[in-house]
Symmetry: C2
Subunit: 584 residues, 2 copies
């Protein structure tokens, strides 16, 4: 049994005690090796991959991407009635919220990644992985065009086509430069593990270059100026990590350079962390200022050359100023990947930032295509669009008016189908949806309340104002992955017994309940072992205790015991020995 690690052996021993932990379940290697593929030349010279005859009963699910959305989907998919093909340029899942920690070596890159094959191999679902990039989606013919991303002397035929019955698009987003000149060429980004490792090397590069005897004092100052563009959680966390790295570790090895180091955080808006509670923003700004991080709000970057950043000072009437820099991290938001842009053009969704889906994560205007994570946004249905349909569905006796009793029968369906209604009630502090109906009528007894279509419209006219796009976070993507996997697990069952709300514009009920996002809170690490946490119910916690909460949440959220152990030992190593400054 040499071929099995201790962990596997322990797992086997715990076979009969499934309550212990998910990760201690028996190892079940997914059946039967690789699929058999029939090769055939298509018209454009690429090969078409068809599933073999034996598997035709199984529906073929193609998952694009191995980020949060795709991986969570795969982890939660349990129904053996699918044959899953994963296509991604990365053969691993990366725990992206820890990327800022990787930039300065608080955590190693390898500790936050887990091979996707390892994640799926213990499942009973038939999952195959291809390390390739999707270059085109052909929704009409249900095909996906892929290109192998492995390049060295191993090149065979580079492109191939994969058929699908269901397509799950979870390719994520790329960086958004807002077409600012020079950004692509001169800035660092923080989307991938490689980005973080490159940043780490560049920081050390800057210190080494500044230590050379030939570097003038002015050059030293420029080289040791680290600029961060974008005051969101990523930018803030990187600035904080870098500040710690410099002050806790590098200062000991480069004692002569301490006073020359400068970190600047540039934010176009009035405040950093503007998605957080005001108390957190104020604390972070104060802490950064005290710690010596130069905070420039109202400062929009208009150009980045190889040695200077040009900014437009929005507060000073748009004055343009330039700042010399040594390294700059660009983290201002997310853009659209070319393959998604191309696909959006095909399906008439051009000019959008992300793919529009309905509340069931189905791409609008397509059959059997789902999109989740950063590459998609849910196009929430407006109540006012469906108001007549809702009214006539609710008005069972076709009297032309709606009684409270009639309305109460459809209340649950309305709230489920249009989550903005509940949000509106909560914001207006109404206890009950019936209170909403009272608004156009004034104070009347609940029993005698009766509304015609115009009064009904007027009662619900404001609810759509509560619609909000979901943030592009790991939390949203992961919840969408779980949701979609559950839908797929119960596809046949729900086909027979739909569990969703009433179809107001059609007959019967929706197959599934629509996706609902549940916000579990958000962290903003601020350096010096302090973190700001905003938890549900507007509960705000700032300081060392939140840092420990952060440690425990991030450790527990790791996708494998291996990741968990590695991340925790990385923290311990850093705590004991500090961060490493070797240039590798």
């Amino acid at each position: 049994m040499r071929g099995f690690s201790v962990f596997d052996r322990v797992s086997r021993a715990f076979h009969d005690h499934p309550t212990l932990s998910k990760a201690l379940l028996v190892v079940t290697v997914s059946g039967g090796g690789l699929l058999a593929y029939a090769d055939a030349n298509s018209s454009n010279g690429a090969q078409i991959i068809n599933s073999s005859e034996a598997d035709t009963k199984k529906k073929k699910v193609v998952v694009l991407g191995t980020g949060w959305a795709g991986t969570t989907f795969l982890r939660n998919l349990k129904s053996p009635s699918y044959e899953v093909q994963v296509v991604s340029p990365r053969n691993y899942f990366a725990f992206t919220p820890l990327l800022p920690s990787v930039t300065c070596g608080t955590v190693e890159g390898r500790s936050i990644v887990e091979p996707i094959r390892n994640i799926v191999r213990k499942k009973k679902v038939d999952v195959q992985f291809c390390e390739a990039e999707c270059i085109k989606i052909d929704a009409e013919n249900k095909k996906v065009y892929c290109r192998s991303s492995v390049n060295n002397n191993l090149n065979g035929k580079e492109e191939f086509i994969v058929d699908y019955d269901y397509l799950i698009i979870s390719v994520g987003a790329n960086v958004n430069t807002f077409n600012t000149p020079g950004v692509m060429e001169n800035c660092h980004f923080l989307k991938e593990v490689e980005d973080a490792q490159k940043i780490r090397r560049t920081v050390i590069d800057c210190f080494e270059k500044a230590s050379l005897p030939t570097t003038s004092d002015e050059e030293k100052k420029r080289i040791l100026h680290f600029a961060v563009v974008g005051g969101g959680p990523t930018g803030v966390e990187f600035a904080a990590e870098l500040h710690d790295f410099v002050n806790e570790d590098l200062v000991k090895l480069y004692p002569g350079l301490k006073d020359l180091v400068k970190i600047t955080l540039l934010e176009a808006g009035d405040h950093i962390l503007n998605m957080f509670d005001k108390r957190i923003t104020a604390f972070a700004e104060e802490k950064f200022r005290r710690g010596g991080i130069d905070l420039k709000t109202g400062s929009m970057v208009v150009k980045v050359s190889d040695k200077e950043i040009s900014t437009k000072e929005l507060k000073n009437g748009g004055e343009i100023s330039t700042i010399p820099y040594g390294m700059v991290l660009w983290s201002t938001g997310i853009g659209t990947r070319p393959v998604i842009k191309d696909f959006m053009k095909q399906i008439g969704q051009a000019n959008r930032r992300a793919l529009a889906t309905d509340e069931w994560l189905r791409v609008e205007g397509c059959d059997n295509i789902y999109a989740l994570g950063d590459c998609a946004t849910i196009n929430q249905r407006k109540v006012m669009e469906d108001i007549s349909a809702i009214f006539s569905k609710a008005d069972k006796d076709n009297s032309g008016t709606l009684t409270v009793k009639e309305f109460q029968e459809v209340i649950d369906d309305i709230c489920e189908r249009y989550p903005q209604v509940e949000l509106y009630l909560k914001n207006k502090q109404m206890r009950n949806i019936v209170d909403l109906l009272k608004v156009p009528k004034g104070e009347v007894a609940k029993e005698s309340l009766e509304l015609n279509i115009e009064e009904f419209k007027s009662a619900l006219s404001q609810v759509d104002s509560q619609m909000k796009n979901l943030p592009a976070t790991a939390q949203v993507a992961a919840q969408q992955g779980v949701y979609l996997a559950r839908c797929f697990n119960r596809m046949e069952e729900c086909e027979q017994n739909p569990e969703g709300p009433l179809r107001f514009r059609g007959q019967g009920r929706h197959r599934f309940r629509p996706f609902r996002y549940k916000h579990l809170g958000q962290f903003a690490p601020l350096g010096g072992e302090e973190t700001a946490a905003q938890l549900p119910g507007d509960w705000v916690s700032i300081g060392h205790s939140s840092q420990w909460l952060w440690y425990s949440v991030y450790a527990s959220k790791q996708v494998s015991w291996r990741n968990r152990a590695l991340v925790i030992t990385d923290w311990a190593r850093r705590f004991i020995f500090g961060r490493d400054s070797s240039q590798i």
Copy 2:
């Protein structure tokens, strides 16, 4: 005291207990930041770096390279009477014997490196580091030309000149391709940490490429064929590591590919590990054959194309055969770095593989230049060259004959100056050097033994056959580093009171004892938790117990407690969770 890690704080606490450990000594930040440099333009446009006036009393030592030799020198240098400037393209020391472990993720690259600044910062010696490559040595003017190896937007003036009083050349060697066509372009090497990381990625690349649906079975076989050229310790250890990686870890994630993987070890000689005892060679060959590693001895690689290796079968009358491959590691020996080649031409040592030094590690024909490690070889002095001088020095009464008494007075000096004499006696199993003198005379009483110059020559005529070049190992380099540092530490002291042997061709004594290598044994890890160990006194140990010896020796030899802890936890991580196969 935020700026100090726990380790430092503990170190401080142990200040008064220096017996605990070297690593627990107080942290003494080396004085005074960076040196001041006076800029001036030299004739060729590069800048000349002069030490400031205040430091003129201190002799300036320039160390080239931060490998085993250079780092060990720096670690052992204690005399504060030097101002040391280290020039190396890598700002860290790498524990190279663990590089083969890094290729497959048994140990992480970062765990075996330690920043050179960290190594020197706790010393009282004034050591400065420049991340730059030495491109030219000007022995005549005592100058070294350097080029910064940091390249991104940070470029200022790229080249500079460093003056020295003593120059220590420890730049190591590069790979030796023996001018075999295609090797540089298509092969992997294993000299640097980056090489090991690249090999790791390529192995995974091969598995991913072989998993693509478009790859034909024949292609899969080619891609999964890993070739290792060179049956030395590095090649053997890599083959063993790769075999373990495939059979313990990858086989679980790529179950369909197991039977297609092939590892071939190509060796031009008749046996692998030919510097080891025959028992070890036989055991390793048998183990590899049983484990399924294809061992091809007598097979000389004559060409490497992008997909095929051409070999000349020395056993089959020089037949040329070609083998398709997916990845090939070239580890056949070491070559000369261009800067050393260039320098050797200057000093009339062209056509050599490495710089020739005397037994005091001084480069022949140069003043105050020392060379150690893989870039140098000690040109041992032949007894026969000095035989007349030895005779006349020993013949104190100028009688033209040498009595035993006269000879006994210089015995110690001869043995110290010419270590081959002792080796010769040991090999001939003579108890005493006087026995040597008896050879030309036959059996005579010791007291009446008297030799003339011709008889003396004849007695010592065979001793020079025992001269051997030292192997290019970390052990030799490290011992040379320690030796040279001790010489530098006692330079003034020994100037007054020379401690070396008699100068046979001159007056007085040598300042220092010549360098003597002490072989402490060698390991050859063979995979499957088995290691072969050859210890002094021809003691051979093979198996699991040697593996544990290997673990303890390699853990204890780490240059810092940080490295030690990291390497040990890496082993533990591997033991528990297996090796990671993410492509980063």
